[in-house]
């Protein structure tokens, strides 16, 4: 059998007192605390190529990124699309999602949006049609619209921030919700700020009429 090598055994060696956490960040071992996950929105401007969405969702899943929603849609430029991701990760995780996305060849630019960003989400709700007046009242209360009303079901749409949608869904529970379709958040940076750094150069002015 193998004789092994010479030298002091592990227990006989000096060991450093320092420590890192699971994210590889140096910490004070006395006051160790796991970093809190944070919910945030990333916006990615991508080239309209086949498979881009599949590539992004594949990346998210194989790297085990904690994702709440992912939406995609066209932009002012017919050659690009915008992907909006809501993620919940501790700080190093957010930077990982950002840099790994940016590394994809068809991703033009990625940015984490500030807390002041304009964020919107749409939900379509179908409830039992027993009390149309009450349903109407709640729909009004959330600034929604009735899309379809029949004797057995009423379908409404509500648009709003994530919290507002959550609240609305809660409010509609009293009518027994049959089905929900929720889009997930889409977002833009507020005011004059461009949403990602490559937006301005790719902005296409609508044609004059």
């Amino acid at each position: 059998m193998s004789g092994g090598l010479q030298g002091p055994a592990p227990g006989e060696r000096p060991q450093p007192a320092g420590r890192r956490n699971a994210q590889g960040i140096r910490i004070d071992p006395e006051v160790e605390a796991e970093p809190e996950p944070r919910r945030t929105v990333l916006s990615a401007l991508v080239e309209n190529e086949p498979g881009v969405l599949a590539t992004i969702s594949g990346l998210v899943s194989r790297r085990q990124f904690n994702i709440e929603s992912l939406t995609v849609g066209p932009t002012t430029n017919p050659e690009t699309s915008r992907v909006t991701l809501v993620i919940e990760e501790p700080e190093p995780g957010i930077r990982q999602v950002e840099t790994q996305l940016a590394k994809l060849i068809h991703v033009i630019s990625v940015r984490e949006l500030g807390t002041d960003a304009v964020r919107r989400e749409l939900v379509v709700l179908k409830v039992h049609g027993g009390s149309p007046e009450k349903v109407h009242a709640i729909t009004e209360m959330y600034g929604g619209r009735t899309l379809d009303a029949g004797p057995r079901t009423i379908t409404v749409e509500i648009t709003g921030g994530e919290q507002e949608i959550d609240d609305a869904i809660d409010a509609f529970r009293q009518f027994e919700i049959r089905e929900i379709a929720r889009t997930g958040q889409t977002a833009l940076a507020r005011g004059e700020e461009w949403t990602t750094h490559a937006e301005e150069e790719r902005y296409e002015q609508p044609e004059e009429t």
Partner: protein
């Protein structure tokens, strides 16, 4: 170079002549079975007759091979098959040498190794379906190790894609997670452009594998479009120079440290930054630890060299990275085999991380000072910035000028000079160097405390470490070593003294058993003619790709395979003994073929070594044989690899013997 060798074997001119003679009589080889391609394939035969890569492109396939020629590709490795046949037909007239491999996995590994040794993307080809899926292991291997590789795969005709046609696989879908980028060629006019871009992308920035899937109707389709020059995609712009302010901060951290180390990663070799690394470390007197892919980036016989760190790294390297207070990590992704548990990795070090890939920053280990850019460029920037921090100027003549450092791949080694370069750093130069002197002495002391000397009692069987040491001694310094994966690979790391970049060729991140022999084939063709190529293999690894011996014989490649044969999947056996109470399930082979006879059967030379006393004479004969040879070295089946940091453990607590586990 190997051009002469190549022209003897398979010259384009010969091909052209053959084509001339047979173009009229012979139907294209695929005509019997593949009717849909017949008309186009016949059409290609005519311009083929007047031979030339200067002849205008007429098909998608020709535009593919034209793009390869334009990229300067000399060799490609592959296996024929239905959907790739049009490309092979175009290769018939192309000005590059195709090596027919026994299996597509071998083609991918050969191309990968070609890329490691040459620095240029290795090219492999396979047909659709099983051909493409057989490449997958090799592509994944290249992806993990950031090796430049271009894979070209045949695909069923576009109209049949999605119909589960014969030999159809969603190749771009399957390879998306393991390629830097892949392409589905959509028409004959642009097929060559895609190949040019894929090649350019494979070699740029953080290198890696790319793939172009080539549907048969696209490659047989007519076009007169010459492929565009290989350009990088518009959205790809790897950083070159690091931000100056960040460099200054990082330099200040290194300058004010007491116990700094350089952790060199594979990116140092990929970025051709070995001369800058040598210059930087010797000028500032900072000890150098390498990761496994960086073996050869820094001469291992240099006094500042602590060699490889990590799971089976040297004790002194692991002590140094555990106790350092500043770490300059260059081109490394902090793989878990290097870091052990991140909780205990360099727990007191401020980390300066130089990388060309922003996604590696703080991925596994937090970078206090990230520096984005090319390894060599940033090392030079740091060197300048460090110069500003030194108080006294260095005496003239003591500083190794950048031009003095040996060029990558040069046969000259500075292994002889280092004593002159590094030790005078202490005392006679700057205050920075004085500051590190105690630390350098500490590292030297660890070298004495944890020597790699292994016991070699007379009454025990042949020791694998001894075989590695002797083969090292019997071969020139610039010999290229390839390996499979397992114990033999670790002994090849530990007991061979590497001095030059691109002489260590292995499967690091993916850990692909069977890598060694096909890699030796690719390495042989990429290496200089006067360089030797040795493959250390395990009996388990060797049996996974042994069929490639047929290729080595067919191509008459001078490679020497040394099988460190312990009749087991030895690393698994070692772990079973250490962590599974010695329950050796499926790790020991009750019977192993006679590799000497097997080698002879393949047409190679075969040898067997049973005892230490035979090593020099048998190895001498095998190495002297001008052609493939296999040496079956029957080693001590009980030998284990040490030092060892158990998975997820602390590098500073490496064990030196089984009872310490």
């Amino acid at each position: 170079m190997s051009e002469r060798e190549m022209s003897e074997r398979a010259t384009p001119h010969q091909h052209a002549t053959d084509a001339e003679a047979s173009a009229k009589d012979d139907a294209p080889p695929e005509a019997h079975t593949e009717t849909e391609a017949r008309s186009d394939a016949t059409a290609t035969a005519e311009p083929a007759a007047d031979a030339g890569s200067t002849a205008p492109v007429t098909t998608g396939a020709e535009s593919v091979t034209r793009a390869l020629e334009a990229a300067g590709v000399e060799y490609c490795f592959g296996v024929q098959g239905g959907a790739i046949m049009p490309v092979y037909d175009a290769l018939y007239d192309a000005d590059l040498t195709h090596v027919t491999m026994a299996h597509e996995q071998g083609a991918a590994h050969a191309a990968d190794a070609y890329g490691i040794v040459s620095g240029e993307p290795g090219v492999c080809l396979a047909t659709s379906g099983p051909g493409a899926t057989n490449l997958v292991t090799g592509i994944a291997d290249a992806n993990m190790d950031s090796d430049p590789l271009l894979a070209l795969t045949g695909q069923v005709p576009t109209g049949m894609v999605g119909s589960d046609a014969f030999q159809e696989t969603d190749t771009t879908g399957v390879t998306t997670p393991i390629t830097k980028e892949n392409y589905f060629a959509s028409d004959a006019d642009t097929a060559g452009d895609a190949v040019g871009e894929a090649f350019a992308l494979a070699r740029a920035g953080r290198q890696g594998p790319t793939l172009v899937d080539l549907p048969k109707d696209v490659t047989t389709g007519t076009t007169d479009e010459e492929p565009a020059e290989g350009r990088l995609p518009e959205t790809y712009d790897p950083p070159e120079r690091a931000d100056e302010a960040a460099v200054a901060e990082a330099a200040a951290v290194l300058a004010s440290a007491d116990r700094p180390v350089v952790l060199a990663g594979g990116g140092v070799i990929k970025g051709e930054a070995s001369p800058e690394l040598r210059g930087f470390a010797t000028e500032h007197g900072i000890p150098v630890v390498t990761t496994m892919p960086a073996i050869g980036a820094f001469p291992e016989d240099h006094p500042l060299a602590l060699e490889m760190a990590g799971m089976h790294g040297t004790g002194y390297a692991n002590m140094a990275i555990t106790h350092c207070d500043a770490m300059l990590a260059v081109g490394t992704r902090f793989d878990d085999r290097l870091t052990g548990g991140v909780e205990t990795f360099a727990p007191e070090a401020e980390i300066v991380h130089v990388d060309v890939d922003p996604a590696e920053i703080s991925k596994n280990v937090h970078a206090d000072y990230p520096l984005l850019g090319d390894a060599g460029t940033v090392l030079a920037q740091l060197d300048d910035a460090m110069g500003d921090t030194a108080v006294e100027s260095k005496p003239a003549g003591n500083t190794p000028a950048a031009g003095d450092a040996p060029a990558a791949g040069s046969t000259r080694t500075n292994g002889n000079e280092p004593t002159a370069e590094s030790e005078p750093a202490a005392g006679s130069t700057s205050r920075v160097n004085d500051r590190y002197r105690e630390w350098r002495e500490q590292c030297q002391q660890w070298k004495e405390e944890y020597p790699m000397d292994y016991p070699r009692p007379d009454d025990e069987p042949l020791k694998p470490q001894y075989v590695v040491e002797r083969v090292d001694a019997l071969t020139p310094e610039d010999t290229v070593v390839t390996t499979g994966v397992g114990q033999h690979q670790m002994w090849a790391c530990q007991y061979w003294t590497y001095r030059e970049p691109r002489t260590w060729v292995s499967s690091h991140g993916l850990g692909t058993m069977g890598y060694g022999l096909p890699a030796a084939i690719g390495a042989r063709l990429a290496a200089e003619d006067d360089q030797s190529v040795v493959c250390f293999d395990g009996d388990g690894s060797f049996l996974m790709t042994i069929q490639e011996l047929a290729v080595a014989v067919r191509e008459d490649l001078d490679v020497t395979v040394v099988v460190l044969n312990n009749e087991a999947v030895g690393m698994v056996r070692q772990w079973q003994d250490g962590f599974f109470e010695g329950r050796r399930m499926a790790s020991e082979y009750p019977w192993v073929p006679d590799f000497e006879t097997l080698a002879e059967g393949f047409g190679a030379r075969g040898f067997t070594i049973e005892a230490a006393s035979e090593v020099d004479s048998v190895m001498g004969e095998a190495l002297a044989h001008d052609g493939p040879s296999v040496v079956d070295a029957h080693i001590d089946p009980g030998e284990n690899v040490y030092p060892m940091v158990p998975s997820g453990g602390s590098n500073g607590e490496f064990v030196l013997a089984e009872e310490q586990l």
